[in-house]
Amino acid sequence: MFRLSTAIALVLALPASAEEFNFAVTTDPQTMDPHAVNSAPVLGFLNNVYEGLVRRGKDMAIEPSLATSWSPIGDGEGWRFVLRQGVTFQDGSAFDADDVIFSYERASSEQADTSSWFAPVSDVIKVDDFTVDIMTSAPNPIFPDSIANWMMMDSGWAAANNAERPDKEQGNYATLNANGTGPFQIAARQPDLSTVLEPHAGWWDEVEHNLTRVEMTPIQNSATALAALLSGDVDFINPVPIQDAARLQGNPDVQVIQGIEARVIMLGFDQQSGAAESGQGASDMFLDARAREAVAKAVNVPAILQTIMRGNAEVASQLVSPAMRGYSDAQAAPYAYDPEAARALAAEAGLTGQTISLKCPNDRYLNDEAVCQAVTAMLAQAGMDVSLDAMPVSNYWPELRADNFDMYLLGWSPGTFDAEHPIRFLGSTPNEEKRLGSWNFGAYSNDRIDTLLPMIQSEIDDSVRQGMLDEVAKIMQDEVAYVPLYVQPLVWGARANIDVTQRPDNFFILRWVTVN
């Protein structure tokens, strides 16, 4: 006799009842382990299930979560976190300082992908069951800001299920199961097909949403996702293809929610002398700052935004958007579009007559290839001969690592929401040992920036810190280290009866969703 059991519905063809909420994402989170992969699809989703000591509010500001308060210790030796009492994990066990210590050890372990968050940490000390001291090797004013995605896991649960360390290659219990303190718990998961969430009855905070069941379905094809939204099979999709946004706005059944992401899209240059490298990027054409300036002046960013982004994005002047902490108001003016000056500079720097190789991804950022084509055409107008090579992102990073470029397109979203982040990864001279400049493919290097970075990282006084950030922003602008183009837009689509809150980190927070 066959045992018949109704499986989890992959899709409900029936109209969802009031509190059921179905949404589509393009990328299924590849793991349920909050420490295994430091990527937006994973952390964004798990923010609904797991919680950290602090969390980000609707305005991106840090607010208390599993810690009720925090304060610096002494003269910047570390931070003391007072933990919230009476918090339970979804399996019913209680949350206390031991779980914080365990989560620190787990998230900072070699097997974890989140260990860079803890590079400044020297020690984590349990003071009592609800007080934890996190010691830093140098004063670290932005530490609480940098751990909003550091999620707490129950030590007992991890031990019982043999998941005390993340396992990226083989997977373990925590790859498929979750046990957080957050507002939602996983009721069923079929990787790649469907994930069903239910509210966590014992959640400590006041419930804002009115959801009783949430189903997440990955839909990779944007046309299919759009059709699913229009037909009401799903209530929410992210993203809406930019070219369809205007058409959707005319439909009374759906709404388009637009905003600006934290991600800045920029052009980078090969600034290493040819002798030090091989590959196609072995030429020295962009060692000359005038050559980089020529590119900066030749690209008409507002025109790109008007056409390719349909007016949905904002011009960027530096490596972070104005919404980030440490944004430099003093350097808010973007490079002015001036094709004549660009032509003259390009000739002076000897760019004319050379073929510039521009590398570009075609499936990583919104309309990335189209943007690169526009840049190619604009540079051609200023007398520069660019050969564009666009490829899937899986081929793109190896190509950049192999120095096969003169110019490349890069998007950067600062994980800490602070201007220090891109300086560390993009502005510092690459240094494997100090874990600096790991995304600085073009090897841009400035001694003053390298000196300023540790000072910025440990400066407690906000105005002094801002002064140094302004200085770095000015140096990078003057030297045209990168050409910031625009801040990437966010376009979400939802049925008309859904209320959602959009955050610039593109995290979809379910506890702010209501179905009317």
Binding site: V11, L12, G171, T224, D363, S394
Partner: protein, 322 residues
């Protein structure tokens, strides 16, 4: 006969091994999975360590050999993307593809033969000409466009059928079926039409031209002269004799229905192995790509082997030649 079969099986194994080797040599061009497995704050040290752990620092021939070694023991590795055994994922996804392929196949054969006979018998009729014209769409429009058009019409505009997915499924043993629920059956309609349309028109046009050929034969004329009814002449005498080439083509198309399913599954977010493969390519999930390609080549090689053996059994001349 036995030596013939042994020889053919040996050749098939060789084909499989070569296919695998070609597949593995291609994986290098698909990209680097490491960047997809680590976040933006990774260091080069992390990248190199993970690469070494996965054995990706080895030449592809070595990787291929290791894959074969493991596969021979029934172990297809762990998916980079899902962190689960590939065999488990394939087993989970196969029913969706097989059910879709079966329904499309039946649809294509039944409708294809039926319409082929109809258009042959009424070859000057208005309806037959209309069907022939419409069938051009099936041959010439790309699958994804047909899928999107069907979704737009039946899901978005009319709201009759779901726009994506497989509906509610029921588990029987290790098999998940969509045949037993209303939403599962509804969800099958659009993808099955999309996938089967090309094969259907192909079969229809083939049946029609074969049938027209046969209907001109003397024995059909004599059958009519004997005063046999239309039905007996058309179906017992004419159709039966058109079936030989039709069955050959249907056999050949069997494999391609599963291969074509990749596009249909992408358009309808159908949770089968084709969609799994597309996602694996985007992520450079080498274990999944390798297992899928080997599975598909085993399938094609097995079909061909079977056909070869059947031919040899039917036609003794082939045996003698070998």
């Amino acid at each position: 006969m036995l030596s013939f079969i042994v020889k053919r099986v040996g050749q098939s194994v060789l084909v499989l091994l070569v296919t695998g080797l070609v597949a593995f040599s291609m994986f290098t061009f698909v990209g680097d999975p490491i960047d997809n497995m680590l976040g933006q704050e990774r260091t080069m040290e992390d990248v190199e360590r993970l690469r070494a752990q996965l054995g990706l620092d080895k030449p592809f021939v070595v990787q291929y050999f290791r894959f074969l070694e493991q596969a021979a023991q029934g172990n297809f590795g762990i998916s980079y993307r899902q962190g689960r055994p590939v065999a488990e994922i394939l087993m989970e996804r196969a029913p969706a593809t097989l059910e879709l392929a079966a329904v499309s196949g039946v649809l294509a054969i039944v409708m294809g033969i039926g319409l082929g006979v109809f258009t042959a018998i009424r070859r000057n009729g208005v309806a037959a000409n209309l069907i022939m014209s419409i069938s051009l769409i099936g041959v010439s429009l790309p699958t994804f466009l047909i899928g999107i058009l069907l979704i737009y019409l039946f899901s978005v505009e009319l709201g009759w059928l779901p726009s994506f997915g497989r509906g509610e499924t029921v588990h029987i043993g290790g098999w998940s079926t969509g045949f037993l629920t209303e939403s599962g059956l509804k969800a099958l309609i659009l993808p099955a039409i999309t996938l089967g349309l090309y094969q259907m028109t192909l079969i229809m046009r083939l049946v029609r031209s074969e049938m027209l050929e046969v209907l001109r034969q003397d024995y059909i004329r004599f059958a009519r002269a004997r005063g046999l009814g239309d039905r007996v002449v058309n179906f017992r005498h004419a159709l039966k004799n058109t079936m030989v080439p039709v069955i050959t083509v249907i056999g050949l198309q069997l494999g391609s229905i599963i291969a074509f399913a990749i596009i249909t599954e992408t358009v309808f977010q159908w949770p089968g192995v084709g969609l799994l493969f597309i996602n694996a390519i985007q992520f450079v999930d080498i274990p999944v790509m390798a297992a899928y390609l080997m599975l598909i080549s085993v399938m094609f090689v097995a079909i061909n082997l079977l056909v070869d053996i059947l031919y040899a059994m039917i036609d003794p001349r082939l045996r003698a030649a070998s």
